[in-house]
């Protein structure tokens, strides 16, 4: 009698089992292969947060040039493609936080930004909470990498690193020229970056036995419309020089006031952005010559630096390469390099890959890009640059310089 089943199904035989097992194996193998392809194919979605409007708009847009220059160079280096998702922080901490959340919700797999310490701090909190890697391009406040974050990385020196190098470079310049101010007025913006730098300067300065004394400290609003009182107050101290921590608009306002109030300091020593920006050079022309900026910079002798400089000159003729381009480009370099090594867009795999970064063919000064346990590149070195004839010349350290310093600055009223 033939046994029947109420359900009309095929009987399992040794042959059919073997075929089924083979098919299942093939399917599993193919599935894995598909999975690998999914992880490796397609560009990494990188959310780039910058202050594209508001008080820092000029600098944010300058950083964007670093983003625009990256794709062809990465291609030449054999790095994977990045899909850039742009966002505007509007120079506002709360907006920065909201935009970071939105980028992640929209599918960003890694974040880069945000030029400013306050905004970067807010984004770091969001990135850590959501478990998405965040590579800071520019932000110097030390606490950002002191929180024990696992997804936050910074390829930019902290305020104490900038200051230590700045004072060392200043001494080198004073020795080289035989000119040194005896007293300075320290003017700084009162935002997160400015306050961090102010605290850092007060902490670091005594260790360096500098030839000058700070005779007055003047904090001012970064969005101030008029800085005449601040400059009048600084001038009234009779100090030889100005020590500055500023942004772009305020650097221009202060320079105008220096001219109007007929005060030519021996030198302007800037520990932050503003004084070397292209908008500063173009707007003020001859009046922009002279200030020395002690900043994270590029090594003009490095191959990738020359490549980036060439690309910038081609894409944006007349624009000098600066910190904004270099460190925004390098933040994306870190992202692309990590994606290549991780072979996955999984946030944890990316973060692990970033942690083991070792890029020696880079742009900035120092041995290369590596991160310590806290996610900080602590091997970066800073330079001294001077504005001369609309160009930015590297004057210290000697190992990365391409010009000699000119000190004292030419008085403003004798520039024709």
């Amino acid at each position: 009698m033939r046994r029947t089943s109420p359900i009309n199904c095929a009987r399992v035989t040794r042959r059919s089992f073997a075929a089924g097992a083979g098919a299942a194996g093939l399917l599993a193998a193919t599935g894995t292969a598909f999975d690998v392809v999914r992880a490796q194919s397609g560009p990494l979605k990188v959310g780039v947060l910058l202050p594209r409007s508001g008080a820092q708009a000029g600098i944010g847009q300058d950083c964007q040039r670093g983003v625009e220059l990256a794709p062809p160079i990465f291609k030449a280096l054999g790095l994977p493609e990045l899909a850039i998702m742009n966002a505007d922080t509007e120079t506002n901490v709360e907006v920065a936080r909201a935009r970071a959340e939105k980028l992640i919700n929209d599918g960003a797999q890694l974040l880069v930004g945000a030029f400013d310490s306050g905004q970067s701090t807010a984004i770091a909190q969001v990135a850590e909470q959501k478990g998405i890697p965040f590579v800071i391009n520019i932000a110097a406040a030390p606490p950002i990498t002191e929180q024990g974050y696992k997804f936050v990385f910074r390829n930019f020196p902290t305020a104490p690193m900038i200051l230590s190098d700045a004072f060392a470079n200043q001494k080198e310049l004073f020795d080289a020229t035989g000119v040194a101010p005896k007293s300075v007025v320290f003017m700084h913006v009162n935002d997160t970056f400015g306050t961090s730098m102010q605290q850092g300067i007060n902490a670091v300065l005594p260790r360096f036995n500098m030839p000058y004394k700070i005779v007055e400290q003047i904090a001012y609003d970064a969005t101030a419309r008029d800085l005449s009182v601040e400059v009048a107050k600084a001038k009234a101290t009779g100090a030889d020089a100005l020590l500055m921590v500023s942004r772009l608009n305020d650097a221009m306002l202060i320079t105008r006031e220096l001219v109007k109030q007929r005060w030519s300091p021996t030198v302007v020593l800037s520990m932050g952005p503003g004084w070397y920006e292209d908008q500063y050079l173009k707007t003020l022309g001859k009046l922009s010559d002279g200030p020395m900026s002690f900043v994270p910079w590029y090594d003009p002798n490095k191959k990738l630096a020359q490549q980036l400089e060439g690309a910038l000159a081609k894409a944006y003729p007349g624009i000098n390469m600066n910190t904004n381009h270099v460190f925004t480009f390098e933040a994306l370099l870190v992202a692309a390099d990590a994606y290549k090594r991780a072979r996955s867009s999984d946030p944890k795999a990316l973060a692990d890959a970033i942690r083991t970064t070792n890029i020696t063919d880079n742009v900035s000064i120092g041995p290369g890009i590596q991160f310590n346990d806290k996610g900080q590149n602590d091997k970066l070195k800073n330079a001294a640059i001077q504005n001369r004839g609309g160009k930015l010349l590297t004057i210290a350290p000697k190992t990365a310089s391409n010009a000699k310093p000119e000190l004292p600055m030419s008085p403003y009223d004798r520039r024709g």
Binding site: N190, Y220, K233
Partner: protein, 289 residues
């Protein structure tokens, strides 16, 4: 600190305050007559500033020369705004007027952002870096020109309201709305003229302020707030009050920056505002309601 620094800073504060006063004067004139608070005041000023920049960069026209033409352009804008948009809201609740003008302000800011972008812009004239040496004092030449122009414009405005029949008619509307209607005045047209005059003050002030500060589309709200502080301090609806308020705020901020810390300048101007509200709620030269 040498004594001249106090005089230098005081003179600078007074001169800047005069220009602020002219801007606030426009707000005061509009409120005093039309009884509408112009929440787009600062934004209208940024329009004037951008027009000055365009005329300077495109045609090389000095903003000081363009004070009167720009006042004319803003007069036309103000007249059109009042006649076309605001007049229907005159009898509506105040919150409707508020929302309307805030909407206008937001639209202006965003249009400027689209047209000019977010970068700060300024005008650099041949005298931008000049200063006068008066004994030990160094006085910013641009501020002197702007302050002097403000005094002339304000005097002309006072003269208009006191001696010209049209100005007297506008004052009649402000003093007694029903009475003005009864004697046959075209109140709506006079309101539009008044709004135009207020906007003209903004146009003139904008042409001068662009010589002193950089402009961005986002500057509007800060200027609106500043105008409010000034007119409330000086007395809402009082023309001399607006000018006095401007000078007081300019001077307070300048001296606070010198004696205390510059980053706390705004705190002192708000402090002055609080004191005025506590002890003379109608403003220094305002009339009690």
């Amino acid at each position: 600190m040498a004594a001249e620094i106090y005089f230098n800073v005081a003179v600078s504060g007074v001169l800047t305050g005069l220009v602020y006063g002219l801007m606030a004067l426009g707000l005061s004139v509009i409120f005093g007559v039309v009884r509408v608070v112009n929440f787009a005041h600062g934004e209208m000023m940024t329009i004037a500033m951008y027009l000055a920049i365009v005329l300077f960069s495109g045609l090389g026209l000095d903003p000081l020369v363009m004070v009167v033409p720009l006042a004319g352009v803003l007069f036309a804008l103000g007249y059109a705004m009042q006649a076309g948009i605001i007049n229907p809201f005159i009898t509506r609740p105040e919150y409707s007027q508020f929302i309307l003008l805030v909407a206008v302000a937001i639209i202006i800011t965003n249009v400027l952002l689209i047209v000019f972008g977010p970068d700060a812009r300024n005008v650099q004239t041949s005298y931008s870096f000049d200063s006068f040496l008066v004994g030990p004092l160094i006085i910013d030449a641009t501020k002197v020109y702007a302050g002097a122009a403000t005094v002339v414009i304000t005097a002309a405005l006072f003269g208009f309201f006191r001696f010209v029949p049209l100005g007297k008619a506008i004052r009649a509307c402000a003093d007694n709305y029903t009475g003005a209607l009864v004697v046959g005045l075209d109140v709506k047209r006079l309101y539009a003229l008044t709004f135009g005059l207020g906007a003209a003050c903004v146009g003139a002030a904008g042409a001068m302020l662009v010589l002193l500060v950089d402009v961005t589309p986002a500057l509007g709200p800060a200027l609106t707030l500043l105008a409010f502080i000034i007119v409330i301090t000086g007395g809402l609806g009082s023309m001399p009050g607006a000018l006095l308020g401007g000078v007081l705020i300019g001077l307070t901020e300048a001296m606070a920056g010198l004696f205390f810390t510059p980053s706390a300048k705004s705190m002192f101007s708000f402090g002055l505002l609080v004191l005025v509200l506590l002890f003379r709620p109608q403003g220094i030269l305002g009339r009690r309601a």
